[in-house]
Subunit: 302 residues, 2 copies
């Protein structure tokens, strides 16, 4: 049986999941698709995918089941609801969770599935919707080596960088580290730009200088110019990084780790949400500093 006969159940056809599933379909994998909200399966079904009535049915008809949904309770529902994946999976089925959820819950879910002989990989992604469309996502995979290698051809259709980072749960931990970095880097960018704005400097010039050396970050280089232009459109939404930082906060609590910088970033994003900005991009943290300092940092925009 060639790899391409591996039947893939694909659950969650949102802004990330749909283009990922389309890439698998284009690569020749037969798909069984399911989405909780109806009306998202059309393009995939036209391309030859079978539509499942629930996650259980998707699992029954597949060798590998991929889920990419919003949060920990959503994954739990996909797996363990009455018509969930656990009810349909067989011994040897590989379940791959590509959502960003709790590493602690992940280890629990994996242990419960292991009793049925179902293998669990946690494989959260970064790279956004553009990475999903282009098949260039960074995929950080936790799980047993044998299952990771079995799934690698599938991952490589969706991602440009696929790294096995450790046992089950490790992918989620690395994603939590990733989001911590993004959040705290945004805080750094906001504070530096506010200091520069208060001195009346041209912020484009400031960015040109500080991105050129040891002060640079991806956030500063890519989102700093958006702040200066007053473009607060997402990229990555405040409400989603808050969800991810809640995972960080709980993982840190579980491990008894003080993470004061991350905690401060959480508070700043919460203030953006409090003002109704949950669907703005993470660079909207600048609006908090504008309020705190009582001065404008953005040089254009509303």
């Amino acid at each position: 049986m060639s790899e391409k006969q591996t039947r893939i159940g694909f659950i969650g056809l949102g802004i990330m999941g749909k283009p990922m599933a389309l890439n698998l379909q284009r690569a020749g994998y037969p798909l069984v698709v399911y989405n909780r909200t109806p009306g998202k399966t059309g393009e995939l079904v036209e391309g030859g995918a079978e539509e499942a009535e629930d996650p259980k049915a998707a699992a029954e008809k597949s060798d590998v089941v991929i889920a990419i949904v919003t949060d920990t309770p959503d994954v739990e529902q996909v797996l363990f609801a009455e018509n969930g994946v656990a009810a349909g999976a067989r011994e040897g089925t590989v379940f791959i969770d590509m959502s960003t959820i709790s590493p602690v819950a992940t280890r629990d879910f994996a242990a419960r599935l292991a009793k049925k002989g179902v293998h669990y990989l946690d494989a959260p992604v970064s790279g956004g919707d553009i990475g999903a469309v282009n098949g260039t996502l960074t995929i950080m995979v936790g799980g047993e080596s044998k299952s990771v290698e079995q799934a690698r051809p599938i991952f490589e259709v969706m991602g440009g960088r696929v790294t096995h980072v450790g046992p089950v749960g490790s992918g989620q931990t690395v994603k939590a580290c990733n989001q911590t970095l993004c959040a705290v880097h945004m805080m750094a960018a906001c504070e530096a730009l506010t200091l520069a704005a208060a001195a009346g400097l041209n912020l484009e010039t400031v960015l040109e200088v500080v991105t050129g050396g040891a002060a640079n970050s991806w956030a500063l280089e890519h989102l700093g110019p958006k702040i200066v232009k007053g473009d607060l459109s997402p990229g990555f939404m405040v409400k989603l990084i808050q969800k991810d930082l809640d995972i960080v906060t709980r993982a840190a609590a579980e491990a008894n780790l003080p993470m004061p910088g991350a905690a401060l970033a959480v508070q700043n994003f919460r203030a953006v949400q409090a003002a109704g900005g949950g669907e703005l991009g993470t660079q909207a943290m600048i609006t908090v500093y504008e309020k705190l300092a009582g001065r404008r940092v953005r040089q254009a925009g509303e």
Copy 2:
């Protein structure tokens, strides 16, 4: 008179100043050198530099006077002590402060010199001793355009990127922004690596993944591996970034800006200093997180 006949007084022959002065000498500029602590001028004098007995004498014999010393009071001393630059400079002399000091004090010093017709440029650098040796420093220059352009050939001997960022004091403000970013990025790196270490992950693998995308920073990419290896040697010393963050703190207070992230980084670096680590590199912030979390993050080292 060719540019190269511009006589340069050079004050402060420390780890940064000496290689910068040597580059100017090699480029053909006649130098008059002064260092507060004796015994630093030998190599420059052998190369043809004249040694001045005090900053006043250096200024009397020069068209342009460069100072690169430690802190705000040192620059004040160089300028306004009895035998300081102000006592020796003439109308039209250009004074260039390449130290990292307060932007507020800088504007005051510039105003006092302006009464004598002396032009002031603040031109702090980043790029470290390696940048100083190789002539590849980033130089952020504040001051009047005419003086900046007059000094540009001199800057270009010492730096790879020379940017006029605004009026006098602006160079120091951009440097303060730069150091804010470096400090907060270090905090982000420490928290992310501590979270990963608590989960028992291989930190080299984690760094490989998170430096590949939107979570990357220069600090993470260049100092993260040193943390993992337990190499806390400087780079840039904790006591020096604390000095620079004190400038940030005062500039923020002057402008009424809350900078909670920077403040937290200050506290973390202070804890390193409290433990006797002031001469370690900034990545020694990891030792604070190791204490807070009661666990080892470094995978080697003492």
